[in-house]
Amino acid sequence: MSTSKNNSFGRPGVRYAMTMDTRRCVGCNACVFACKAENALPAKGFRDWITYTVKGNFPALSELIRSERCNHCSNSPCTTNCPTGASHVGPGGIVLVDRGMCTGCKACIASCPYDARYVHTDGFVDKCTFCVHRVKRGLDPACVSACPTKALAFGDLNDPDSHVSELLRYRKHTVLKPEKGLDPNLFFLL
């Protein structure tokens, strides 16, 4: 977890990542509401969302709840397919959209296997920014701060002492659609 004192934003070699603890998540949607409020999202605009996967045969059912968002893939087809450079990789590997450069051609939406992007009612394409405006100030993304069960953590993957590095070292984890080979930076702790 970053604090204002050891703000890593803009430092070379930083690789931001998020962990999502599926054992802690209760699917309360606090992360979704925090994001909507923090980023003033339009109606029908989503930067993060909850999924439920129920497995088994009644009554022996098990439920897995995830809070999902853009994976800020290290190998991001949404940025390579953007014709204008609006979709780009920012500091710390955060994948961002520059609104003033976006034509709304939607090539990036079509390129994302995670359906993490949508068209903002103002015409440009929008998605999770890891709350870069907060990260710049050394704060956690809004969803991470809001989570009442502390299921979310954010930090620098390349710093062995960061909270995310520690969690990934000790906990079993997975990413979504690893077979797509995009190197996601949103990890689900199992």
Partner: protein, 320 residues
């Protein structure tokens, strides 16, 4: 058993991706059509001397290069209508992104205008240039001298222009397929490099079809019909390869394949694209050729319908 529930209803994304409507498949169709016209004009031009010996080329075939910029403009209009952030359309031209086929396309489209228009001007005859010069807007704007200069420039650079039209036509045709192919990581139905040659050949075929609707002379029509029959056969073969590619892919690819074999696009694809758009016109063209029957507009019109349908169905297949 597994049940997946997503608490989200994102605009144009849920329940399934709904980002590209008619604008995109019409654009891909028109792009292919323009590519076909350019390639055919170039081949015709390169065989111009031969054609002159066979009887002079019809004025329609000489004017054909001008069809390309008209068709491209309509295509660009469709593309523009699809943009969600229209005021920022100029952003296409403040960057060149080597990894983005869409960026390549935006620049190629601009380059096509001078190349196609000059090629058209290069084959005008003196009396045609004169009548163009007396055309009211050109007279009022005093563009006569410029026009004449461009015609002379075109004639002088004829060979270069012909090869440029051929190369850019091939590039444009392949690009319309690669554009979808490059999004294949997320859209299994487009996950195939075959879409490049497939859309190119289909573009050639629709280009030939459009030209066949004009009153060309007998030899010219004959030649287009023959070329087109071959293009249809090649297109069928490429469709076969496209399916083989999907069949030998991973689970996502095979799910995409299923849409064409039993899934929701099956009836539309086999009836509109394969039967109406390829097999029926091929049969008509072969019969016309064999029996020497006077050609009708039927085969070309069906080919054009088939061309639009192919793009429509492939684009839809990727979005489901």
């Amino acid at each position: 058993m597994e049940e997946f529930t997503i608490i989200r209803n994102s605009l144009h994304v849920d329940p399934h991706l709904d980002i590209w409507g008619w604008e995109i498949f019409v654009y891909l169709f028109l792009g292919g059509l323009a590519a076909g016209i350019m390639i055919i004009s170039a081949i015709n031009g390169l065989g111009y001397k031969q054609a002159k010996e066979d009887g002079s080329p019809s004025s329609w075939s000489r004017w054909a290069p001008f069809l390309a910029p008209v068709v491209i403009s309509l295509g660009m209009l469709a593309l523009f209508l699809d943009l969600e952030h229209k005021l920022y359309v100029w952003r296409f031209y403040t960057a060149f992104r080597i990894t983005s086929p869409m960026s390549w396309g935006a620049w190629i489209l601009l380059g096509l205008y001078p190349v196609t228009i000059l090629l058209g001007l290069a084959f005008l005859e003196d009396n045609e240039i004169e009548s163009l010069k007396s055309f009211a807007p050109i007279r009022w704007l005093k563009l006569g001298a410029l026009l004449e200069w461009l015609c002379r420039l075109g004639s002088a650079w004829r060979k270069v222009l012909l090869w440029a039209n051929l190369a850019l036509g091939l590039g444009l045709g392949v690009y319309t397929g690669i554009l979808l192919g490059s999004l294949g990581v997320a859209r299994p139905a487009w996950n195939s490099a075959i879409l490049g040659p497939l859309f190119l050949v289909s573009g050639f075929s629709t280009g030939a079809a459009l030209l066949m609707l004009f009153p060309l002379n007998h030899n010219e029509h004959e030649r287009l019909r023959r070329w087109d029959a071959w293009a249809i056969v090649l297109e069928l073969a490429l469709l076969g390869l496209f399916f083989i590619g999907l069949a030998s892919g991973d689970g996502y690819d095979r799910m995409a394949l299923e849409m064409f074999f039993g899934g929701k696009l099956t009836a539309l694809f086999w009836s509109l694209v394969v039967a109406v758009g390829l097999l029926v016109p091929l049969t008509i063209e072969l019969t016309e050729g064999h029996k020497g029957i006077r050609p009708t507009a039927l085969a070309p019109v069906l080919l054009l319908i088939g061309g639009v349908s192919l793009r429509w169905i492939i684009v839809s297949a990727g979005l489901y």
